[in-house]
């Protein structure tokens, strides 16, 4: 162990020992930065200073590097002389550079020099607390280091003033300011444009939860017609309150911990949407722009897809259950039906027993029909696909509507409609459910419009279907509509808005339809507005 530590010591020796003052300044960079910031805040300089930590760090690094550069050349304090050329002094180079930078930013000499005094103070404070006071000694490290730092600061400041007041630069100051002003405006516009272009909604809120800034995506959630840059340039006199998540915001303001969660909000469009909301504090280390950043990412599509997947899963398990029950039930029915028939055959037609069996047969017939619906809904019948014309499907499935005189059926089938790859019987059955539903939604008659068109789906689409060519068939009625809350339930078996018991198997129509369409690799969605009508859209794959 000893050997190793000796060797390490040797290497360090060779690498060059850093002066204790310089190591201290480098180690305590963060401390210096905070110290200066605190002074600046106390004295109100932060009204004009940068808000981001990195800008402050860079200024501390520049000063520390100047001191280190001076130390490299000589460890004696860099005393001043009447003939020193400060503008070309390597130690004061930082001052010259900063003078050029700040003058064009519209910072005054007084302002700069004032804040510079607090930078110097911060460095002196650090030396003060870091090196001990030694009694009975004339010149301690503490004094020497302080003096060294003082002189470097003096040089930087003098170089700064010399550069600032150089004749040629004073004359060109207006030009320089104008050029800088243009650049700054451009820079501002660049970041404003980036902010406005963000596809996610960004809001900056004040302590009261009012909106200070928001980008277009954000503004559009509040006012649909919001334009890009609208909020920035209109400079509203009164800040409007942030309309959502008040409780979450106050909880965030109390804790200050970054939060993110999924919420349902109601934007100006009136269509509820899902957002992933993130809360953050504005990262201003001077606290000039204190506030809360709220970012909304629209995740409605993802949420809907998730919900849809869950529904699919549910329907699928119901399908499996139904298949099992229907299969067994069907076998039992077969036995009953068979034996009733045999018994009847062996009985006298006039006997009461024969009539009893006829009664039983009537109910059996209903049971058979119900069981058949379940078998169709369940996995039993895999589709037997062939290319089938859409008009033929529409014709066959809507033919029964002709019996209803107060119903008008309008067909809008695109001329170039592609044939679909389906089991014709099954799809006709599915479509018939849709027409039946439309019919039942309009007890006083009306128009049913059936429209069909080709559709090219990209790899990612809201229907959760694979990429490819599809045909969309829409059946629209002018009926009572379905409340939003019920729309997701209409494909569930035995869900019905109508009175039960009036018809056996009621509530199976759309469930069967859904199951058949899914088996075909297609999809069905409902769009409905209470009072205006319902449109069922079904998507079927073509070749």
């Amino acid at each position: 162990m000893i050997v190793i530590s000796q060797r390490v010591a040797k290497v360090t020796m060779q690498a060059k020992i850093q002066h204790p003052l310089i190591s201290l300044l480098k180690e305590r960079e963060l401390w210096l930065m905070r110290r200066v910031r605190d002074y600046a805040m106390e004295r109100d300089y932060t009204r004009y200073t940068s808000t981001l930590e990195e800008a402050w760090r860079v200024s501390i690094v520049g000063l520390t590097d100047s001191i280190a550069a001076a130390m490299d050349i000589s460890e004696e304090p860099w005393e001043l002389g009447p003939d020193d050329n400060f503008i070309s002094d390597p130690v004061a180079a930082f001052g010259v550079f900063e003078a050029q930078k700040h003058r064009s930013r519209g910072i005054t000499l007084e302002m700069f020099m004032g804040l510079m005094k607090y930078y110097r103070q911060a460095y002196l404070d650090l030396i003060d607390i870091s090196f001990p006071i030694v009694q009975d000694e004339d010149c301690t490290d503490r004094d020497r280091f302080a003096r060294f730092v003082e002189r470097v600061f003096d040089r930087i400041e003098i170089a700064f003033c010399a550069e600032w007041s150089r004749k040629e630069t004073v004359n060109s100051a207006v030009d320089e300011l104008q050029t800088a002003n243009r650049q700054i405006t451009n820079e501002k516009n660049k970041f404003l444009t980036i902010f406005e272009s963000l596809p996610i909604a960004v809001f900056v809120l004040d302590d009261q939860g009012h909106i200070v800034h928001m980008n277009q995506a954000g503004a559009q959630l509040i006012d649909q017609s919001a334009t890009s840059g609208g909020h920035y340039y209109s400079c509203p006199e009164e800040r409007i309150p942030f309309p959502w998540l008040a409780d979450e915001l106050s909880r965030f303001r109390e804790s200050g911990d970054e939060m993110q969660s999924e919420y349902r909000i109601m934007p100006a469009t009136g269509n509820e949407c899902w957002v992933l909301a993130r809360f953050r504090l504005v990262q201003d280390i001077s606290f000039k722009f204190a506030g809360t950043l709220v970012i909304f990412e629209d995740i409605t599509e993802r949420k809907m897809a998730e919900e849809m997947r869950m529904r699919m899963g549910k329907l699928e398990s119901i399908g499996i259950l139904a298949a099992g029950i229907a299969h067994d039930f069907n076998n039992m029915l077969s036995v009953i039906v068979n034996n009733v028939w045999l018994a009847k055959k062996r009985l006298n037609k006039e006997s009461l027993a024969y009539q009893d069996l006829e009664e039983a047969e009537e109910s059996m017939q209903q049971a058979i029909e119900l069981c058949n619906r379940f078998l169709t809904f369940s996995k039993g019948g895999e589709p037997f696909r062939r290319l089938t014309s859409v008009s033929r499907i529409v014709e066959e499935s809507s033919a029964f509507l002709a019996d209803y005189q107060d119903i008008v059926c309008k067909e809008e089938i695109a001329d170039d409609i592609l044939p679909v790859m389906v089991d014709e019987r099954q799809i006709v059955l599915a479509m018939r459910s849709l027409f039946l539903n439309a019919l039942e939604a309009m007890p006083n008659g009306g128009t049913i419009t059936v429209a069909a068109k080709n559709l090219d789906l990209a790899a990612i689409n809201s229907l959760n279907l694979g990429a490819g060519k599809y045909v969309e068939i829409a059946v629209a009625d002018q009926g009572v509509g379905i409340p939003v809350a019920n729309q997701s339930k209409i494909f569930d078996p035995y869900y019905s808005t109508k009175d039960f018991c009036s018809q056996k198997g009621l509530g199976m129509g759309l469930a069967i339809c859904h199951s058949l369409i899914r088996k075909h690799g297609g999809h069905i969605v409902v769009e409905s507005e209470p009072g205006k009508g319902t449109t069922m859209r079904l998507y079927l794959p073509t070749v």
């Binding site: 076998n331 039992m332 029915l333 039906v337 068979n338 034996n339 078998l375």
Partner: protein, 149 residues
């Protein structure tokens, strides 16, 4: 053991009560003898040791070997047997295809109509007799499902 003058019918279903029901249909039918099996494997075994069976009636959905797989095995070894499917899944595309290529003579839906079942069997026997007389070539189906282009 088995009256060889009678027409032998083999019924296959994994439900015993269905088999019992089928047997009861033929209780008072002269000229038929019904044998039952609860799986395709058992049925094949029976066919090997007894028979010959003129008619095989099989359920479609059975564990291990489904009805069509069983009938395919029957077709391979006893091609002259008349093969009938008795199934709840009347819509099945696989059964339709089997009807089309002659694997299945007739599809009867469950629950069956006993009269129709008897008529089907009578018809099958008649065709069988005809075939024996005239040596009709190829597979036979009662009502071939037209193939669509």
């Amino acid at each position: 053991m088995i009256d060889t003058c009678k027409i032998l019918i083999l019924c296959v279903d994994d439900e015993k009560n269905v088999l019992r029901s089928l047997e009861r249909i033929f209780l008072d039918q002269e000229g038929y003898e019904v044998v039952t099996a609860i799986s395709g494997a058992e049925a094949l075994n029976i066919m090997e040791h007894q028979g010959p069976f003129r008619i095989v009636i099989s359920d479609y959905r059975m564990p291990v070997m489904n009805g069509l797989d069983f009938l395919r095995a029957v077709q391979g070894r006893w091609p002259d047997t008349i093969r009938i499917v008795l199934s709840g899944y009347a819509d099945s595309a696989e059964i339709k295809a089997a009807l089309n290529d002659g694997l299945v003579y007739k599809l009867l839906a469950k629950p069956w109509n006993a009269e129709e079942l008897l008529a089907t069997i009578d018809g099958a026997v008649e065709i069988c007799n005809l075939r024996n007389k005239d040596s009709l070539p190829g597979p036979i189906t009662e009502h071939p499902v037209p193939k669509e282009s």
